[in-house]
């Protein structure tokens, strides 16, 4: 198991370095207008040159990357060119917001999709058909559209829940939960629809295996067959789907944060990309890559723990 984790950690480190390098090259190759955007229309060529020198944009690309990487290794992600806020602080402020939303959404997705998927696979019949229809419908609805409809009815018309914003958990647990209900619901509808189908398929596959028939033939309690044997074997594809859902939800959160004006990593990324705020963009990309890598690593470890065959593979 330790060798397994070690191999995964090395692969993760290589991935982080590769993505950071590619993003840096892409982002820094288009910084020609940053000084002008910062200094405004009346800046003289000398002032623009001075600003470029201050930001280090007058140096060769490789030297800029080296300086940035050196600072990152020391834990310094730099300062936003446009808001003067330290990047680490901006991310620290916004990461809990996005994580609140995504972790909530993934947990609900896991609970609901496993429940629906197993029920559809085991019961079959009309229940299976209803769940499949609902899944297709849920999958077909874009999450931003769901979000807008929810805001229109539950916030603007009925005034039940806040239309925008985020309240930190430490400030008010009730307001924090209220602020998350609509964004999380918007995310969960699509992700549950997709995950439930995958869980259903995995459970049906396992239930058709020979060893399940053998267990049933030996007269073992059907509940035990389902929960102790079938679900354990169906867990690997289900966990993989959930890890993919986590990554997809991080992407989905970008749109949802915009609809609900939630100050999370998604809105930070969009603003940084639109403005050309490279230090912020790089900081967010590195943070997200590390986050995705950690999630994949955890899923790999859990899969290996649940199903020893995975470790051998």
């Amino acid at each position: 198991m330790i060798r397994f984790i070690g191999r995964r950690l090395v692969a993760c480190a290589v991935l982080v370095v590769m993505i950071a390098t590619i993003t840096f090259l892409l982002a820094f190759s288009s910084t020609g207008n940053v000084a002008r955007n910062l200094l405004g229309e009346s800046a003289t060529p000398d002032q623009l040159a001075a600003k470029n020198a201050e930001l280090g944009l007058d140096r060769p690309l490789l030297a800029q990357f080296g300086a940035w990487a050196e600072h990152v290794v020391r834990g310094d992600l730099g300062i936003s060119w446009f808001t003067n806020e330290p990047v680490a602080q901006a991310i620290a402020n916004r990461l809990p917001v996005t994580l609140s939303m995504v972790v909530f959404a993934v947990t609900l997705t896991a609970l609901i999709s496993v429940g629906l998927g197993v029920a559809a696979a085991v019961r079959g019949g009309w229940l299976d058909r209803v769940i499949q229809v609902l899944s297709v419908a849920g999958f077909a609805l874009p999450n931003f559209w769901v979000a807008l409809v929810l805001v229109l009815f539950l916030s603007v018309t009925l005034g039940l829940l806040p239309a925008t914003g985020y309240v930190p958990l430490s400030q008010s647990p009730g307001a924090w939960a209220a602020a998350l209900v609509l964004p999380v619901t918007s995310l969960v509808i699509g992700s549950t629809a997709s995950a439930a189908q995958q869980v259903r398929g995995a459970v049906i596959d396992v239930l058709r295996q020979d060893f399940i028939r053998t267990l049933r033939a030996r007269g073992i309690n059907p509940r035990s067959v389902l929960f102790r044997h079938a679900l354990r074997n169906a867990a690997t594809p289900a966990l993989t789907v959930l890890s993919l859902q986590f990554i997809a939800l991080l992407g989905g959160a970008v749109v949802i944060e915009k609809v609900f004006a939630i100050p999370g990593l998604g809105s930070l990324t969009i603003n940084a990309a639109l403005q050309g705020d490279v230090p912020v963009l790089m900081g967010v990309v590195v943070t997200l890559v590390v986050l995705v890598v950690i999630v994949n690593l955890v899923i790999d470890i859990v899969s290996g723990w649940v199903n020893p065959k995975v470790r051998v593979q």
Binding site: G40, S42, T83, T164, G165, A177, A178, K258
Partner: protein, 505 residues
């Protein structure tokens, strides 16, 4: 079994009800403290006085910093930290008398030394508005409450700047502080509440208890929330989470249906910058008849009605209607007349037309097809070059394009002249000029106060007659507020400062 299911259902219902009950107070709902909550389209960039911007970002600094002068709701300049201002005959010496007894929130007194420190700091800075105090050559401190500014040359815009970033006063001790960008130390009606502020999310301001004119600011607390997305801002306003926000003309119908109050002010002019007046890139544009033909080629009325929903007024001038360079009679100078445009092009020797290159920004997608079609109708072909939205201004200012579409804000006439008319102006990137215009500009720069409007109008007439620009209309900036909030719009800024808000009784 039934009882168990009912219990689960009731528990779930109670949870939803509880969460809904905790969903946060509506904006300004507290009776004990009057709170103003506004949604801003942009995040704050900095509290460093050298980096302050006008436009939307003015709302972030206007609660904490006083200015030397202030604009009233009729766009007239009024005393504020400066109690009076007097020019000498040559208009190169400006005497300012200052208010006494005012202190910054760190206890430093506001005096002539503080004014000098702030103005020199701004002029030496690299911000977008550092030009506002660069015409000042020397500072003569007469007394703690009196200061004389000796200008390098007459600057008809200086007084206007004193009511804007040029007149912002911060504690001199804070100007070189490492926290100057995040911790404002002013003498304004509010102080930034750091505990209630999260950059990028919420900026909270509480009353400056020692403020000298608290009665002018009715709110005890001001909260500004940056929200880039227009739909989110509208939803927040409709749901009662904020009291006011900026929007655009596309959302007017929705806003009116929702019972929101629509406040408008015409700030930006919409149209074409005919930058290649000397014909450096496209020789045809040097010919006055060609530039006039372009002015006749656009159906301004239809564009205003269909793109901006009629929210604005037709114009041929770049100067703000509230300023001293605007001449209403000039607005009828160019009507939509394709035949006349074609005739002018034929007279100039371009009967078979010519081609111009223009930057195509996704931010102006609604205008690009119209421009292409209307110019093509008179024989001018547009070759578009795709430009990312965040690069459109640097691209236009680079001097690579003979013509560009823009919505350009306008303030006082001299400010607009500095922006787009002189040979050094940034929005005159090909540095076009004309001796006749130079003479008019020199006359305006040195004109005594009483003759300034006439001198500015003469400049405007020359620009319109010479077709230096092809403005279509001045679009209304739209600011929405709820039933409990009154907003007094300002002529020179798309978003009102905090002093322009008051609760409706």
């Amino acid at each position: 079994m039934l009882i168990r299911r009912c219990s689960v259902f009731l528990a779930a219902a109670a949870l939803v009800a509880g969460v809904a009950a905790c969903s946060g107070a509506r904006a300004g709902s507290s009776a004990a403290t009057k709170t103003l909550t506004i949604a801003n389209a942009l995040d704050n960039n900095s509290f460093d006085p050298t980096q302050l911007n006008i436009g939307n970002q003015m709302q972030y600094w206007s609660p904490v910093f006083d200015t030397l002068l202030k604009r009233d709701k009729d766009n007239r300049l009024q005393p504020w930290l400066a109690t009076s201002w007097t020019y000498d005959k040559s208009r190169t010496s400006l005497n300012l008398k200052l208010k006494s007894g005012v202190k910054f929130t760190d206890g430093t007194p506001f005096d002539a030394e503080a004014v000098k420190a702030n103005m020199t700091n701004l002029a030496a800075g690299t911000g977008q508005n550092s030009y506002m105090t660069r015409s000042i050559g020397t500072y003569q401190i007469v007394s703690p409450t009196e200061l004389n500014l000796k200008l390098k040359a007459p600057d008809p815009g200086l007084i206007d700047y004193l009511a804007s970033v040029g007149g912002v006063m911060a504690s001199p001790k804070s100007l070189k502080s490492p926290t100057v960008a995040t911790t404002p130390v002013g003498s304004g009606p509010y102080v930034l509440d750091k505990a209630g502020t999260v950059a990028g999310s919420t900026y909270t301001y509480k009353r400056n208890q020692a403020y000298w004119n608290a009665a002018a600011f009715p709110y005890d607390k001001v909260v500004i929330k940056p929200m880039n997305d227009l739909t989110a801002r509208l939803n927040a306003l409709k749901a009662g989470q904020v009291n006011a926000t900026i929007t655009d003309t596309n959302s007017l119908a929705d806003a009116k249906r929702s019972g929101l109050t629509v406040n408008t002010t015409p700030v930006n002019w919409v149209g074409l910058l005919l930058m290649d007046r000397d014909g450096k890139l496209v020789p045809a544009l040097k010919d006055l008849r060609v530039r006039q033909a372009i002015n006749y080629a656009f159906d301004r009325e239809a564009i205003l009605r269909n793109v901006s929903h009629g929210e604005g007024s037709l114009t041929t001038q770049i100067f703000n209607a509230a300023g001293d360079g605007y001449d209403k009679s000039l607005d009828a100078r160019y009507s939509y007349d394709v035949a006349k445009a074609k005739q002018l092009l034929a007279d100039a020797g371009y009967a078979s037309g010519f081609t111009i290159t223009m930057p195509e920004s996704p931010g102006f997608a609604q205008y690009n097809a119209i421009i292409g079609q209307q110019l093509s109708a008179v024989g001018i072909t547009v070759k578009w070059v795709k430009v990312p939205a965040n690069s459109i201004i640097p691209e236009i200012l680079s001097g690579k394009y003979p013509v560009a579409f823009m919505t350009l804000g306008s303030q006082s006439a001299w400010q607009d002249i500095q922006k787009a008319v002189t040979r050094k102006s940034p929005w005159n990137p090909l540095k076009a000029g004309d001796p006749a215009l130079d003479k008019l500009l020199a006359a305006a720069q040195t004109a005594p106060e009483a003759q300034l409007p006439a001198a500015m109008k003469a400049v405007s007439k020359w620009l319109v007659d010479s077709a230096w620009f092809a403005p279509w209309y001045r679009e209304n900036s739209v600011y929405l507020s709820d039933a409990r909030t009154a907003v007094a719009m300002q002529a020179y800024n798309v978003a009102p400062p905090v002093s322009a808000f008051s609760p409706k009784e």
